[in-house]
Amino acid sequence: MTKHGTDQAHWYQTNFELFEKNLNGEASSRVHAMRKEALVRFAQTGFPTTKHEEWRFTNVAPIAKVSFQPSFEAGVVGLSREDVVRLSFGTAHQLVFVNGHFVEHLSSVGTLPRGAIVGSLASALKGNDELAHGFIGKYASIQENPFTALNMAFVQDGAFLYIPQGTVLEEAISLLFISTGTAPLYVAPRNLIIVGDRAEVTIAESYFSLATSGTLTNVVTEIVAGEGAIIEHDKLQNECAEAYHVASLHVHQKGKSNFISNSIAVGGALVRNNVSSVLDGEYAECTLNGLSVANGTQLIDNHTVIDHAKPNCPSHELYKSVLDDASRGVFNGKIFVRRDAQKTDAKQTNKTLLLSDDATMDTKPQLEIFADDVKCTHGATVGQLDAEQMFYLRSRGIDETLAADILTFAFAGDVVRRVHVDGLREQLETLVHAKLGKGRER
């Protein structure tokens, strides 16, 4: 391994050696070879800079200069069941991860249909689960995104879900990630979700921190959607104001599958969400929704990629941001329509509500269309509260603050409403209200 830069910049290399020692027998596995390869890759690229097209608006220098401490274990000290309950929305299946590591006694797997697996990636890898070993890293490439390489280098734990074909899971699976501690931790969960043909499941990833330090959460989730599978993936990011959060969700969809993502980001100092889906079979459908709610000096960046690889696939995208104070938002929505992908119907909408003159939004649609018989539309708006609507509310007796709140929640609620899990939706509503509400009548 080449050594360059200061020692500070190489926390990941010195820690990798430590990490390897603790792996014992596992160090000879295929996954470990992938880790090593990923580390080499990351050492080559380092953290991205704003010179990279994909990172033009998001400067990760604040992350790059910290010497993070990778979390090799949960460190559950001080975390109680009550803490977990407080952060949960209530469902039959919940896996709790502390600092990226599965904590069994805080989790409840619940009763599962035959053949379904709801468990930790660490035990799947240890148990030589064929699916886990076969699919890990298959769709999340270490070449494209340095953070994905960095995640792979320290792959250890996260959720491993397998829903066999034709199986319908009635209740949502909650993956609750909590970070704790005061040192700047590096937390890198890895989730692998395999959904068989015609299986149906809803998965909610929630990120909270009880930590007050600038933890870096760098999560990668891979989802494999079988033929005709129906999947809703909801994500809530509500870490503390100092937290850094980089997430990549890679979805691979077979024909007739239907994938819905609702990604809501509320917390964190710097948040980058990558969501990408490959529509790799006819009549696959993909819906990506997102909501960012930022204030202070927060930066929330959403990058999406929808890759229409096969004909007759519709995709829908709605990303909204509410930005207050001096916060910043980024939206970059890529849509590829490959040469074969005739009759693609792609629609992308990005809307931003600026609540302050100092808030800024960078929005960029990016359509690359190589087929000729397709329908692709995109639209972006950035605006303030509507003066006519404000006047209408006020002229009926509603004070200015409450009127602004009502309109702001209505704007944000448009995305929150799309979450089908009642308990989670209510939790999201409460969080969004708490973050945005300036009025008294909550």
């Binding site: 006519e388 609507q389 209408y392 509310l393 006020r394 002229s395 009926r396 007796g397 009502i406 704007f411």
Partner: protein
Amino acid sequence: MLQINNLHASINGKEILSGVNLKVQPGEVHAIMGPNGSGKSTLAQVLAGRESYEVTEGEVLYEGKNLLEMDPEERAREGVFLAFQYPVEIPGVSNTYFLKAALNSVRKHRGLEDLDAVEFLKLVKQRMKIVDMDESLLNRPVNEGFSGGEKKRNEIFHMAVLEPKLAILDETDSGLDIDALRIVADGVNQLRRKDNAVIVVTHYQRLLNYIVPDFVHVLVDGRIVKSGTKDLALQLEEKGYDWIKDATDSTLATA
């Protein structure tokens, strides 16, 4: 109750109201008519507190208080209500949620407790009957996708819930079918009390057959150029506005 003295208002530097005088007593119904663009809606909006209009001269007293100094919400709480000519759509905010927020704001100002969900629903159901409004409009977002007539009916429904002292109805009749016009006008009449007043802005005599005005005023080029009884509306229906415009031109010329 309302006294407007020499009111001048402009938007983007362009004067729209050029010295309006009007006095409204409790219990009265005033009709304001006038050609398109003469400033009727501007007057209504200025009275409701729309900030994009700048009042450059004159005063408005409402129950002895300086109305122009109050925020729009304060005016509403004091009993001023504007039924908009073009009610705005508010996606994502249900009609009931909106009304409840409005009603409780008004009640609070009047020293009353908030209505709870059950009481509120009871009131709403009762008031919906006044304008024979379809219940399905309650849970839909405010005005979103409402037909022209439904929007107007919804405005009067809001009025029925909020029980204003001074209601200004800006072309509430336009967009209503013949039956709806009668129903909505009946509703307005049911809401009349001897201590409240109504200003109706309209282009058509027909509405005034139902809501019978005590006074009719003609607004031309931002000024009330003629006032009279309900017979004036009949005359206008028959002769249009030209004769008044001509008469005022000559009055101005001789003045």
